[in-house]
């Protein structure tokens, strides 16, 4: 597609269940980011993938959160044993990195997660 695609757009789950959120970045973009946005709040960095480099996981809030990026393209963010405080919009973004410089980020519409 022309933009960053995320699925599902909405997910309601019960506390304790695992969820998977998918991000399909813009073709050719080597950098991929996951952010979390709670209601009325800013963007909380979670994880960053750049090419074949080891991902920067410094923003993951706990070991219940993990992400992978297969083949340098699609990424999946997994939250295990979900808690109510995990409820938020999870935003994915991709960019075309030139050298050491991060270009403009293109965001998806986000996946809204509600944990009951």
């Amino acid at each position: 597609g022309a933009g960053v695609s995320q699925s599902p757009s909405n997910k309601v789950t019960e506390k304790g269940k695992d969820v998977e959120l998918r991000c399909d970045p813009i073709s050719g973009h080597t950098a991929l980011y996951w952010y979390r946005q709670s209601l009325g709040q800013g963007l909380e960095f979670l994880i960053y993938f750049q090419g074949n480099s080891a991902p920067d996981k410094s923003g993951l809030p706990s070991d219940r959160f993990s992400a992978e990026r297969t083949g340098g393209s699609v990424s999946t963010l997994t939250i295990q044993r979900t808690q109510q405080e995990d409820s938020a919009v999870y935003l994915c973004a991709s960019s075309l990195v030139r050298g050491a410089n991060t270009g403009e980020l293109f965001f998806g519409e986000g996946s809204r997660l509600t944990v009951l």
Binding site: V4, A31, Y33, Y35, Q41, G42, L43, F45, Y48, Q50, D56, S58, G59, L91, A93, S95, V97, A100, N101, T102, E104, L105, F106, F107, G108, E109, G110
Partner: protein
């Protein structure tokens, strides 16, 4: 610690007036700044950017000003329209790479335009 922050969390303006959204940054190594607009229920969208070797950059109805002396960034919107109502984020890129893809976001300012 080092951070990107905003002076005002909310801003309410009258339709037709000019809006000014402010952002403070503390890392003098940052060399590139971006403003994003996020409408309700959507992902952030790029508005305008500016490199640290510039003081001002203009777009369509928007102007970004950079004051490196006081580490301050502002976004000016001329003749604000109801469609400008959104949350605005500034972001800085820190030279030399590192964590977070070297891009750090501020907390955002909500702009409300009154008809």
């Amino acid at each position: 610690g080092e951070s990107v922050g905003l002076h005002l969390p909310t801003l309410s303006v009258q339709e037709g007036d000019n809006s000014i959204i402010n952002c403070a940054y503390s890392n003098s190594a940052s060399d590139y700044f971006i403003w994003y607009k996020q409408e309700s229920g959507k992902g952030p969208q790029f508005i305008i950017d500016i490199r640290s070797n510039m003081d001002k950059r203009q777009g369509q109805r928007v102007t970004v000003l950079l004051n490196k002396t006081v580490k301050h960034l502002s976004l000016q919107i001329a003749a604000t329209q109801p469609g400008d109502s959104a949350v605005y984020f500034c972001a800085e890129r820190r030279r030399g790479g590192g964590s977070q893809g070297n891009l750090i976001f501020g907390k955002g300012t909500k702009l409300s335009v009154k008809p």
